[in-house]
C-alpha cells in the first residue's frame, strides 16, 4: 500500500526510463580506446562504468588500471562521449529498436 504522509514527502527513488529516449547509441571500439576515462568524465547520465582490469598498451604490453564500458540502461544517446573521445574510439549508431 502506498505510504501516507501528513506533509509532502518523498521516499524511494523516482526514475524515468531515459534509455527509451535514445535514437542513437554509442559504440566503443576497444582497439582504439586507451582507457583515458574522458567518456566517463563527461557522460551526463553516468552511463559509462569503470572497473579495474588489464589495460592494453600501444606497445602490446598491459598494465593494471581502470577500464571503461558503456551501460546503455539510461543512455539518452546525446553523443557527448563520441564527440569528446580523444581517440575517436566511440561512434554513434542508429538505435535499431525503433
Amino acid at each position: 500500500m502506498e505510504k501516507s504522509y501528513k506533509a509532502p514527502m518523498g521516499e524511494g527513488i523516482y526514475e524515468v526510463n531515459t534509455g527509451d529516449w535514445r535514437i542513437q547509441f554509442p559504440e566503443m571500439d576497444k582497439t582504439r580506446c586507451t582507457e583515458c576515462g574522458i567518456c566517463l568524465m563527461y557522460c551526463p547520465v553516468n552511463s559509462v562504468k569503470a572497473g579495474y582490469g588489464e589495460v592494453l598498451l600501444k606497445n602490446g604490453n598491459t598494465r593494471q588500471g581502470l577500464v571503461y564500458t558503456i551501460d546503455l540502461s539510461y543512455c539518452k544517446g546525446c553523443g557527448v562521449c563520441a564527440q569528446e573521445c580523444p581517440q575517436d574510439a566511440i561512434t554513434m549508431k542508429r538505435e535499431n529498436k525503433r
Binding site: 521516499e11 531515459t18 547520465v45 539518452k76 546525446c78 569528446e84
Partner: protein, 305 residues
C-alpha cells in the same frame, strides 16, 4: 583517490533516470558535484531546470538519494541557513548544506537571501548553475543573460534587431566582494578543476562558499547535444567565462587563458547569438577583454596584498 577514481567509484547520488534534456551539462554537473559531496548532504533545488526534471522527485518519491527539497525560487540561501541553524541546535556540524540553484533563483529573485547569508556568514555551500536565463520555463531572460542574446522575453525581430539590451551581471565578482571565505567559477568542460573547487568549498567551516558554474543550455541556446561540453569549453577558452577563485577577496585565476580564441568562435556555437552583426560581436569581445583585464588586475592586487 585520483579524480578518475572518485568519478568512477563514488556513488551517483541522483536518480539514474531524470528528465533533463539529452546531453544536458547541468545534469553532468549535478551528478559530479553530488558524487563529491556524498550522502551526508542536504541539498536544495529551487524551481528551475533541475527541479523541473525530477531531482526533488514526483508525488511520494524522491529524485535523489540524500535529503533534497524545493526551496522557493527566492529563498534558497535563507532556507539553507535555517537548516544549518537547526543542525547547529542539535550539535550536528558535519552535514553538507548545499544549494544547487539556477541563475534565476540566484542572481535575480534569490539575490537578497544569498547576499544576506553571505554577509552573516551562514555556513552553506551555494552552487549556481548559470545557463543564462529561465531555461526550464521556455528560455526567458535573467540578469545573467548575455547582452544581445535571444530569449523568449528578449525576442529578435524579422530584421535581426532585438535581443537582450543589457550586459550580463558579473555575479562571481559580486559574490567575491562579499568577502566570503570561498568563491569560485567552474565549468563542466573542466571537471578536475570543478571537483577540486567543490572539495575546497566543502572544507569551508566559517561562512558561505559559493561556486558559479557556466552551463550552456542546449535547448534554450540552440546547441546540438553532442556539442554540450565543447560549447562550455569555448566559453572558457575565449575568456568569456574565466575560471578563477577567491578567498576573502584574494583573487586567483585558476586557468590562465594566454591565447584566447575570439569570442566570435564561442558565440557561433549558439543560435541565440545568430542575429548579431559584427559591431555587436565586437562589443561582446570588448566586454570580455575588459572583464578579463579587471580580473588580472584584481589578481595582481591580491598577490601584492
Amino acid at each position: 583517490m585520483t579524480v578518475m577514481e572518485k568519478l568512477a567509484f563514488k556513488e551517483d547520488m541522483i536518480s539514474p533516470g531524470i528528465s533533463a534534456c539529452i546531453g544536458c551539462n547541468v545534469e553532468l554537473t549535478l551528478r559530479t558535484v553530488m558524487k563529491i559531496l556524498g550522502p551526508n548532504t542536504v541539498f536544495a533545488v529551487p524551481p528551475g531546470c533541475m527541479g523541473g526534471v525530477g531531482v526533488v522527485g514526483w508525488n511520494k518519491q524522491s529524485g535523489a538519494k540524500p535529503p533534497v527539497f524545493f526551496p522557493l525560487l527566492d529563498n534558497t540561501a535563507s532556507m539553507l541557513a535555517g537548516i544549518r541553524l537547526g543542525y547547529n541546535a542539535q550539535g550536528r556540524t558535519d552535514i553538507n548544506v548545499v544549494a544547487f540553484a539556477g541563475d534565476g533563483a540566484t542572481v535575480d529573485a534569490g539575490f537578497q537571501a544569498l547576499s544576506g547569508a553571505a554577509e552573516r556568514g551562514d555556513r552553506i555551500l551555494y552552487i549556481c548553475y548559470d545557463n543564462e536565463g529561465y531555461m526550464n520555463t521556455g528560455y526567458q531572460r535573467s540578469s545573467s543573460t548575455s547582452k544581445w542574446a535571444w530569449t523568449s522575453t528578449t525576442p529578435v525581430n524579422a530584421s535581426g534587431g532585438g535581443g537582450k539590451r543589457q550586459h550580463k551581471k558579473d555575479f562571481p565578482v559580486i559574490m567575491a566582494m562579499h568577502d566570503i571565505p570561498y568563491m569560485a567559477t567552474a565549468s563542466p568542460a573542466y571537471i578536475p578543476d570543478l571537483v577540486a573547487k567543490v572539495e575546497k568549498a566543502m572544507s569551508v567551516t566559517e561562512g558561505l562558499a559559493y561556486i558559479h558554474i557556466y552551463n550552456p543550455c542546449l535547448t534554450g541556446w540552440g546547441i546540438p547535444s553532442d556539442q554540450s561540453i565543447e560549447a562550455a569549453r569555448k566559453a572558457v577558452q575565449s575568456r568569456y567565462f574565466p575560471l578563477f577563485e577567491s578567498s576573502r577577496r584574494k583573487i586567483r585565476i585558476t586557468r590562465k587563458v594566454k591565447e584566447p580564441i575570439p569570442v566570435k568562435a564561442y558565440i557561433q556555437a549558439s543560435k541565440k547569438f545568430r542575429h548579431l552583426d559584427d559591431e555587436q560581436i565586437q562589443e561582446l569581445q570588448e566586454l570580455t577583454d575588459e572583464r578579463y583585464r579587471f580580473l588580472e588586475a584584481m589578481e595582481q592586487v591580491s598577490q601584492e596584498g
